[in-house]
Every structure is written in C-alpha cells, then in structure tokens.
C-alpha cells in the first residue's frame, strides 16, 4: 500500500503540485444490532482506496479513488492537482505548512484480543443474553444491544519524505432498556448512551460486563416512567462522568478547533466564541478546570501514533487552571496562527479530506469523589447519561438532556427524577465548576459519532472525565 500512496504523490507532483500527501487505507468495520434477543442486523464493511491532497500556490485539491491500481493512484494525484488549480479561481491568502519532523515509522495500538477473530456467534450470543436479561424486567418494551469494531490500516506518504504506517483497532458496545408510557418513553443505557468505544480489542467488551449491568437498566427505565419530573429552576448540578465527557466535547472540544476559530467551518458546523487574540488570557472556567488534548493516552478513543499529516501524537494544554491556553491545530492552520502543529488532523477514511479533529480532549482529575460531592451538596440534582444535546454555532448556548436524575438534598441522594435537562452559557457554566472527582473515578470516554465537515465525516474522539459539580445552573427546561 505504500507504493499506492507513493504513486499518488508522484502523480500530484508531476502535475505541478508544490506539496502532496496521500493515504492508502484498508478499513474494516463490523456492527451487530440486537433488539429483544433478535439480531436485527449483522453488517460487515471493507473499504480500500487512496486519497491524495495536493497544494498549488495557496490552494488545495483532494481526490480519492477506490481503484487500487498504480495507474489509478497516479491519476488521482493528477486530479487532485487539477482541482487545486481550479480552487485558485477564488483564491485565498498565502498559505504555508508549519514545519514538522519528517518521519518513517510504524505504530499500532495494543490489542489483547483481535475483535475480528472472535466468532460472530460469541458476539451475537452476548447481545442476545444481555437483551434477554433486560427484557426480564416487567415493563421493558425494548431491550437493545449494539457492538461495533473498526480495523484500519493506514499508509501515509508525503512529498517531504514521510512514510508512516499505522494499524488502529477500536472496539465498543452499548446496551439499553426502554420502557414505554402513555405519552413518553424512558431509556437507560450502559456503559453510556451511544456506546463506549476504546482503541483496543475485544477485551473491552468482556470488561464491560454487559449482562451483569442489564437488570439495573431495566429496573431504572421502568422506575423512570413513574418518577416525578426534574424540578425547574437554579440548582447545584452534579454530572456523572459520561455526561461531563459530552459537555467537554461540545462546549470545549469543538470550540477550540482552530479551523472553526479561523472561520473555515462557518457555514455548516459554525465558528467559535473564542478569539485568538485572547489566547493565554481568557477565563474559560474556574481554577479547577484543567483540560488537555492528549493523543497519547493508552486505550482512549482519540489516541493514535501520527495524525493524517504525519505529525506525531502529543499532549497539548488547552485550559490551565481556568485560563484558555491552547487550540487544536493542523499544519496549515497552525502556520496561520503562529503556533506549533499539534498533530490533530484526521480524515474519516481514505476518501475524506483530513481536517482538524479532537484527539482526547478531557479534564485532569481533581481531588474529590462523587460520594464527597453528594455529601457536600445541600440542594442539587445529579444527572447521568446523555439523552439529548444541542449547542449553538459559536459553542456558547447549550442545552443537554440526561436519561436519569436524582434530587440531592442536605448531602444525600434522594428520589429519582425523570427528563432532567440543564442549560447554560459555556464560560459561565465552566466558571461554576467547584468540585471535581479524582483519578479513581476518571474514565476515558469515547465518542464514536462526532460529525463534522462537508461531505460529512464521522470522527472518533476521546474525553477523560469524572463526576463534577457546577453551582447555580438552570435545570428542568422541558418545553
């Protein structure tokens, strides 16, 4: 496959590109969906091809083909260059690529048990057992289970001399129980809604203990139907770690993408409330807020060896003691901002243009614990597992719904409440962070469904998070 990528780069240079890089990839995906002990779908996908990026003057072109012949790869390089020339019809400012070391390397993540070698029948049996167990609770109408596995072999070549191969294996699963009422439904999921995915093998599925957690989900879903509504008003808000992970993703991770800050995503995903002139000075949150983007965390979903521009994975400070200090960058955006490239550019398959993507954007742990947070809260609500999420195009005004909540009064967890929601403005919300659990309760949550770009790309990102408390948050907006 290196030859394929090399041919694509040579094709681009021969056509006049001043810089070119190419990724030849083989991607394999397997997904099982189970409903009420019936495997609804078993789907396997294998994609292979080459995508080449060419720079002419200040303009980019990208072309991808699923034809894996040498001639097709060279033609793809030529096409990418011709597209770059057409881009110059509406030209932009002078463009440079920030320097990175030229590397020849191989990287792969540790895998104890190859998920593609595990018999399909074993996977199906596990989902059937887990959904069957959830369904044993009277009132559970829909017991669902999903597993997904991704295997990616990537070969990167650049005209500057990069030659990097990577093999990345990702695995994940989710089970959920839904109870249906007269006018609404209630759902509980595990390990988190939309699934927990890690850069690892089938061992993560075994560690989840899906069957052992199934009865609790069924019982909670049914209990929620009869639970009182989440109260409305200003309360102290305690978030479980998976919900806090999504809060980080939406209100920090996307906001710090340099392409958004520069306006490159303005028409679709939006921009950012952050202004580069305030980098190093803006108060993003309370002094407890320390956020890093760290692509080197073992097992986290946003980990890799090198990004899709050949820049090595690294840890970058984003927020230090509440002050905004870092952004997510690529070689072109970093050069514009006068920053070092952070190795944060990835594409969703060979046929998608690499773009700025979150790696593992998460909180560094505090010194408290969920037990201590609850015990020190007089009037609050604890919310767990995401149900809905929405945030504006500058990443300021957000509203989240969770699957389940509990009132917390005078230091004790009280009755369960249904349809919990909370809303806020990003820097005000983060400024109210006043308690943060420690390393023992930190989880490297994975988000396998991050949409961005046109054509749409689905990214895999990681978010270390732990239980936390925010004071004076508006909760209970349900329409």
């Amino acid at each position: 496959m290196f030859d394929l990528a090399t041919a694509a780069v040579e094709g681009a240079l021969a056509a006049g590109a001043t810089y070119a890089d190419a990724r030849a990839m083989i991607s394999r995906e397997e997904r099982l969906d189970c409903l009420n002990t019936v495997i609804e779908s078993l789907d396997q996908t294998e994609n292979a091809g080459v995508g080449v990026r060419a720079l002419v003057g200040s303009s980019w072109g990208f072309y991808a083909t699923s034809d894996t012949s040498d001639a097709a790869a060279r033609a793809a390089g030529h096409q990418a260059t011709e597209i770059a020339k057409a881009s110059a019809i509406v030209p932009g400012p002078h463009l440079e690529l920030a320097d990175v070391d030229v590397v020849e390397a191989h990287w792969q993540n540790p895998v104890d048990e190859d998920p593609f070698a595990v018999p399909l029948s074993d996977k199906a049996d596990l989902l059937v057992e887990a959904t069957g167990t959830m369904g044993e609770t009277a009132g559970v109408a829909l017991a669902r289970g999903t597993m997904g596995f991704f295997g990616t072999d990537k070969y990167f070549v650049s005209s500057q001399g990069h030659r990097i191969s990577q093999r990345i294996v990702e695995s994940g699963a989710e089970i959920s129980a839904t109870a249906l009422g007269e006018i609404e439904s209630q759902r509980r999921s595990y390990p988190q809604s939309f699934g927990q995915y890690e850069t690892a093998g089938y061992e993560v599925i075994r560690a989840f203990d899906l069957v052992g957690n199934a009865p609790r989900l069924g019982e909670e879903a049914v209990q929620l139907l009869a639970a009182p509504l989440c109260p409305e008003g200003e309360y102290d808000l305690i978030l479980g770690s998976s919900q806090l992970a999504l809060q980080i993703h939406e209100s920090v991770g996307h906001a710090i993408e340099l392409d958004r800050i520069l306006g490159w995503e303005a028409a679709f995903a939006g921009t950012s409330f952050l202004d580069l002139e305030e980098l190093g000075e803006l108060r993003y949150g309370s002094p407890l807020m320390n956020i890093t983007a760290d692509a080197t965390l073992p097992g986290a979903l946003g980990s890799f060896g090198y990004d899709d521009e050949g820049t090595p994975a690294q840890r970058v400070d984003i927020v230090k003691e509440g002050t905004w200090v870092g952004v997510l960058t690529g070689r072109d955006s970093a050069a514009i901002a006068g920053l070092s490239p952070g190795g944060m550019v990835r594409g969703d398959g060979y046929n998608r243009l690499p773009m700025v993507r979150m790696t593992n954007v998460g909180l560094l742990p505090g010194e408290s614990s969920l037990e201590e947070i609850v015990s020190e809260t007089k009037n609050g609500v604890l919310m767990s597992e995401n149900r809905s999420w929405s945030i504006d195009d500058r990443r300021l005004n957000f509203q989240f719904g969770c699957e389940i909540g509990w009132e917390v009064k005078n230091g004790k967890r009280g009755r369960m409440v249904r349809n919990p929601t909370y809303t806020g403005i990003t820097p005000q919300f983060w400024a109210s962070l006043d308690m943060l659990a420690g390393p023992d309760e930190t989880v490297f949550w994975g988000t396998p469904n991050c949409g961005k770009g046109q054509p749409m790309q689905v990214g895999h990102t990681g978010h270390p998070a732990m239980p936390a408390r925010f004071t004076g948050v508006r909760i209970g907006v349900i329409g």
């Binding site: 072109g61 597209i83 057409a86 019809i89 030209p91 249906l180 195009d393 005004n397 809303t423």
Partner: protein, 449 residues
Amino acid sequence: MSEPFADDLLDEIAEAVLDRVGDRGEAAVSVQSGTLDLTRFANSFIHQNVAEKRAQVALEVASDNRVASASIDRLDDASLDRLVERTVHAARLHPHDSDWPGLIEPTEIPTALNWDDAVAEASPADRAERVAEFVGAGGGLQAAGFCDTEAFAVVYANTTGHHVRGKFTRTTLDGIHQTATSAGTGHATSTRWADIDGSSIGARAAELALASQDAGNLEPGHYQVVLGPECLASMLIFLAYYGFNAKAAYEGQSFFNEGEHQFDDSITLIDDATDPRAIGLLFDNEGAPKQRNVLIDAGVSRALSHDRRTAAKMGTTTTGNAVPGSAAFGPVATDLFLPPGATSPADMVADVERGVLVTEFNYCRILDPKTQVVTGLTRNGTFLIEDGQIVRPVANLRFTQSFLEALSPGNVLAIGDDDRFAANEFGHGMTHVPSIRLADWRFTGNARG
C-alpha cells in the same frame, strides 16, 4: 467531472456476485458507482476542494432465515470472492431471524430519469465559477459555504430474478454571507445544473446578513412565529424519522395514530419520489419501487413509511422506504412534499401583531420521540415582528418545543406560497416545503442563557 461506470458493467458485477452465492441462500446485491465532488469556501475563498470516484458492492444473504450483510468497495475477483464468502459464512452463524420477510419478487419500476449530464460532467472550474458568483453577490461580505455535484448509478438484483437499475444527479449551492455581527443564508438544490444561480442565492444571503446586523436580545417566552422553509423542513424530517417510521410505530415509540386528526387541517404531507421535482432513485434499498405515500391528509395521520420487514410484521405492503441501516433504525421517508398555501411570506409577516420571524433552525435534537419535544436554536437571520412590520433583528434564540404540538389543529395560521427544496437537519434535497406561520412557539433561552 467523471461519470459512473457503465450500467452494463454494474449489471455484470451484480450477476457475478449472485453467481458466486449460487444455491447457498437467498441473496440480494446492490452495486453502485459514482462521483461526489464538493467545492467548499470560507472567508470568501475556496479552502477545501474534494472529489471522489467510488464503487460499492453491498450483499445480503439469507440462509434458512439467517441473515447477514456486507459491503466492499473493490471490484476485482478476489474482493468479490471475499465479500461473498464472508457474507455466506456470517449468515450461517447468525441466529434465526423470524422477521426475515424474504426478497422482493420481480417488480416493475418507473423509468423516470433524475439525471442531468451537466451535473455529472461539472468540472472543478464549473463549481468554482458558481462559488465566485455567490461570493461576488455579497459585495465584500465574508462568504462561506459549498457547491457540490453528485452523480450515481445503482443496480439492484436478487435471486428471485428481480433486477432494476437507476441513476441520478444532484447539485447543491449552500452558503452564508457574514458581517461582523450577523449572517444570512441562501440555498438551492436540484437535479439540474441550470437551476443553480450563484448570484441570486448569494444576494439573498447578503440581504439577510445585512438586515440582521447588531441584533439585540429578546426575552424567551411564547411567541407567534413565521418560520422559513428550512425550519419547516427540519420539523418534518423529525416527524418522518421518529414518527412516520413504521418500526418506531410498531415498537410503540411513535405519536402516530392512523385516522386521527393529529395535525392542523392545512397540513398535507406526501412522500413522493415520483414527483418530477424529486431527487434520487425510484427504488429503495430493497429494490422496491418508492410509492407515493400520503402521510398526512388535511391534518389526518394516514400512513406510515414501510420497508419489507415492517410491512410483513404489520400486515401491509412496503412503501419503498428501506434505507441502509433500516433493519435496525426503521424505514424513513426521504422525498417529502408539503403543498404550498396561498399566503406570501411578506403577507404572513404583515398579519403578525407581535412575533418572531425565523430563517433557519440549528442543531435540533429530540428529547422524546413520542412527544416530539425538540430543542434547537435559530440561525442566520431572526427578527422581531411588531404590528406587521419587522422592527429589529434579534440574537439567536433557543427553543424547546414539541413539533407535534406546533403543527396541531388550530396552531397553524398560514402556509406560505414559497415552497422549494429546503435544507433540513439531515441534508439537502429531501424536503420541498414552504414557509409557515404558527400561533404559538416556545423560546426557552437567548444569548444570555
């Protein structure tokens, strides 16, 4: 820039795959090839410009009601061998699927061709010229958006002898113009290249951006609203995905009650891939012809969207709404038409004593599929209306609102005469709708929270 592979090559691949399966099970194969080229601009220049040529072979095999599917994007013999053996093997390991409806028998498909050579042959320079028109119409405002062209050919064949083919083109120009404090938007989607006028779309976006500068806050609360076509498009796609989806209804997660007056009399909603304006194929992912399906008739919920699985379970026939993944998610309508009313958008505004004019929604997410309570925000032009006049722009508002209640009897005050393809939360070319005026809408937040 380059057309899909020839139809006869796709036919040959389909037959080659079915031959490989042989008598080892029922099998359905879908072979598609095509191009997707997209020119993206921001800060008034082209910053991303991509193209791809792909082929994909998707196979579903059922062996003694054990079903598995797989796909691959390489067409060489070894890859096709691997696809078939992997799928047959997986099917044998699969538990018995009591819901397997079997494959469609040979069925005639309408032959309308949603195709335009000019789209299939559009070059990067052609798209760049459209972008230049859009940017130029802004008179120096900051422009961002995309122009794309898509051309795909698809062959579906199965072991019952059903064999159909189709192809389509689509092109979209979608963008915004921005001032320092505002943005305005313009869209157009069509099968035909000649329908895309970059200058007029750009001028509309610039007009909105200039009109919505220096917006002030508006207190959240209940307001009468005039919603642009993009807003109604997003409301309808949520109703289609989560409500008129027969699987959701079968599972008890839909609001749908057949024959019940769930919507205002003025609402009729039709899913119709056979409409001459529709974009895309005339058969679905199971090779079934897409039917003209009246989902709402003068306010009365009439029909669900079905694939063969839901149809078999619910004792009816498919409406041709199978999509990739519908075995788990369920069938969905993708060609929604809401007929226009007789009121112009200007007249709708003139009839509002105090309310809000909304151009677009952004980031809508459903809180509960059964009640259709959705939260989202306004975007790209929101205005306060008083005494029939637009008095000032307002900063983006958050709403938390049941889309079902929004369209319920008595809440719809007028339907616009400005129907067109409007982008919705899930994409372009699926919803052809006008503006709408509603008596009550709940805004739950503003820029202050």
